[in-house]
Amino acid sequence: MSESTPGIPGSGGQIGIDTWVEQADERIERRGGLAGRITRIWERIPAAGKLALLTPAILVPFLPLVSEGNLFNYGIFILIYALLALGLNVVVGFAGLLDLGYVAFFGFGAYTYAFLSGTHGNKGHTYTHHWDAQWSILMAVLICAVLGLFLGSSSRRLLGDYLAIVTLFFGQAFVVFTNAADPYGITNGSNGLANVAPLTFFGGHFTISSTRGYYWFLLGCVMVVMVILYCISESRTGRAWKASREDPLAAELMGMPVNRLKIMAFSIGAAIAGLAGSVFAAAQTGAFPQNFGTQVLILIYAVVILGGTGSLTGMLVGAIVIIASNQVLDSTSPPNVARVLFYVALIAAVYFTMRRSWVKMLIAFAGTAVFGLVVHAIVDAVWSRGTAGHVTSGGFLTGVIRHWVLLPTNPGRLAVYGYLLMIVCVVAVVQLKGWWRLIVLVPTLYLTAFVWENLLVQNPAVTRYVLFGALLIAVMTIRPQGLFGTAKVEIG
């Protein structure tokens, strides 16, 4: 019986079938073009399948092509941050609570493991515990879960912003506690705990002390945690979390125990952080208080936000993108890779800004090149010291850079003013539209290259944090759901 009465939505269709729900797919906004088709295909694959597809993607680039040092730097850190992001995703993505002290759980996990698996002595007390890893990791996870419970229970009376502040203080309290308030030498102040044994399971039968071993172990942990979280998110609890995230009051009225859900979210997130912390301490053979500071927190947030809150695959992808660029821009890495990445990113930025018009894009690229050469020639003629500097480990791009970018012998102040001017110009580019945007874009690009060569590339470790801060702002203002999250619509 398919009678449809005009004017009444959903009146066509069969009894027993809710057309509104059936037609839900048509109402979801989709992207057009190639990207849209790929997204639609991707969305059809069940999550387990996505996981199965992604894991080889992680494995293949790493072993055995990569050296030991790189495996440590890239592989292990990516997996640790993926774990942390998965945990934070439970709190922020599933339950919608802003937890700014998450990094403290990471620290507690690391310190618990370090304390229980090593020899430490300070202020006259010596502690020698050499627990097997399976017990110390378990202990770390349990302690963190309890702490998460404790923090969560304090959230009962606090609304969004206040909760953020209390959690922030909790994070601060951790740093203060490890740094200062240890009368019995348990935390060893700001020197941290250094003599940490590697993972030894079951009385020394299995020991993981090589980087490769840690990599496999962490990979296993990530996969297990992802599976567990997937199961939870598809269960009643997961649905209840999502409901309480959208509107806590309505959820309460529908009979969900919102307070208990909040505490559970905190607890589970903390437990995952504890696991990550203990493996981290083992891999680093040490736990230092500033390993768990604000920078780590911002990194985890960048991973979660970029990946998309609420999406598990997003966490993995976000971790790969953010941590890989984090390590590339490290002070111990050669600047060559960073330089190539920078110019690629610049080209990508121009592409995205000028995407709609091929003409404008070409003009932007050609214009910048010509503009740069012209300016370089003029400055060379007028003020020779303006171009006599050297390129910082240029590699194969040295020749191009030396003739295109202004390299003063003593960049100092100029670089600082250049940086400030660059920010103003970027702001202007964002504000303007049409041809004006193109006109301002060309000198801005050149200025950016100038600032990069003279200031940023010499201090890549700090540059990456500047970029991550900007990334958070950009993602939030342009695409709040990140790469893999679902866009939220605020009603009313």
Partner: protein, 393 residues
């Protein structure tokens, strides 16, 4: 279907975990053999330099970097060393920010298979933190400034004998010099001691306090943290009739801040006495303050050239790093005499170092613990009104 996939993935995850544990019982040998890996020396040999290049202790760290590179430059310039050039890779340990950086630098040095020896790190707490990384990599490391006495006793802060050496006398020698100066030359009777809660500082403070108390001087002890910048409450506690405050800190800007706030509280008459970590002219410039610093030979031509090149500023905190570089370079060259070397060989060569003369003013040889053999003493400096450090004892 979905449950089956989930279960399969769970099994795969557990399998990964298991293979990690099983697989690695085969490979622990890999890690400890790093020290005995044979490296072809070639014409250019690599050493590492770990120092605080940025961060609050950058003032003293860069002194060390300059002195160490000064030595390497002089070595590389000699015609006889044309085929034995030395390349220096620097690592920024950011002393005063995060001990973890020292560990990171140690690990990155360890993973560089061509790197045979290390100069540094600077801080005693960094030595403690990075010991296991250096030991696991088989690298020997010679510090030009880590002075905490217990670093070489083999048990208190860990055992690093055979790996760690230092070209400075330890705080066991620094404390008596300071205490003697305070009691004999300055004749202080009421002294305040403030440490900065770091390994280095507490050791020195304890040493000086013990000697002063034994000589009947009234000593009050307090502490601040390296993150503090508001000392007004601490200063309010200091009685105005105190004659001197001993501040064995690592961060010169902090000492400058403290001195300024002391003056601002109306207690500018009280004199400050610092330690070697505060030897940073231009940063710590409270005129009239005293400082104990590393020994050196002022008549040595290398020293004189350096002072001239740096416009009269000797930067003596970094001087022992010159000798540390000398030790490491000498050891690497000796081990590479047959064209191939291992890190273990370099370590042994460091232990057998025998420099007849050095810019420290005495010959350099090491004892088993890693200390220098010669009876070195510290010097006492005073800050002049133009900010320069003048030696007075």
């Amino acid at each position: 279907m979905r449950k089956f996939v989930v279960a399969a993935l769970l099994a795969a995850g557990v399998a990964a975990l298991a293979s990690a544990a099983l697989g690695s019982t085969k490979s622990p040998a890999r890690v400890s053999s790093a020290g005995s890996a044979l490296v072809t020396c070639g014409k250019t040999r690599t050493i590492g330099l770990a120092a605080p290049i940025t961060g609050p202790a950058a003032a003293i760290g860069n002194q060390q970097v300059r002195w160490a590179k000064y030595y390497v430059k002089r070595w590389n310039a000699q015609k006889a060393n044309k085929n034995k050039q030395i390349k220096v890779i620097s690592g920024d340990t950011q002393l005063g920010v995060d001990t973890a950086f020292a560990v990171k630098v140690a690990k990155s040095f360890a993973s560089n298979s061509k790197l045979l020896g290390v100069v540094g790190p600077a801080g005693s707490q960094e030595v403690v933190a990075s010991t296991s990384s250096y030991k696991r990599a088989g690298l020997g490391y010679v510090s030009g400034s880590a002075t905490r006495t217990t670093l070489t006793d083999g048990h208190t802060d860990g055992n690093r004998r055979g790996y760690f050496f230092r070209t400075v006398p330890n705080d066991g020698a620094q404390a008596p010099v300071v205490a003697n100066w305070m009691t004999k030359k300055l004749k202080w009777k009421r002294v305040y001691i403030i440490d900065d809660q770091e390994t280095y500082s507490q050791g020195l403070a304890d040493g000086v306090q013990k000697i002063l108390r034994a000589r009947g001087v009234k000593v009050t002890r307090d502490s601040i943290s390296q993150n503090d910048s508001d000392f007004s409450s601490k200063i309010a506690k200091i009685p105005s009739n105190t004659q001197g405050i001993y501040i064995p800190w690592q961060l010169a800007p902090q000492a400058q801040t403290f001195g300024q706030q002391l003056k601002a509280a109306g207690k500018g008459k009280i004199k400050l006495f610092g330690s070697d970590g505060l030897f940073a002219p231009g940063v710590w410039k409270i005129a009239g303050s005293y400082d104990s610093a590393f020994p050196y030979n002022p008549t040595d031509p290398a020293v004189k050239t350096y002072i001239k090149a740096h416009k009269g500023n000797g930067e003596f905190f970094g001087l022992p790093s010159y000798v540390a570089a000398q030790v490491v370079v000498g050891a690497v060259t000796k081990a590479c005499a047959d064209g191939k070397a291992t890190r273990a060989e370099v370590r042994k060569a460091i232990a057998k170092t025998n420099l007849k003369t050095s810019i420290l003013g005495f010959p350099v040889r090491f004892v088993k613990s890693g200390e220098m053999r010669a009876p070195a003493t510290f010097g006492v400096f005073q800050i002049q009104s133009n900010g320069s450090f003048k030696r007075i004892g």
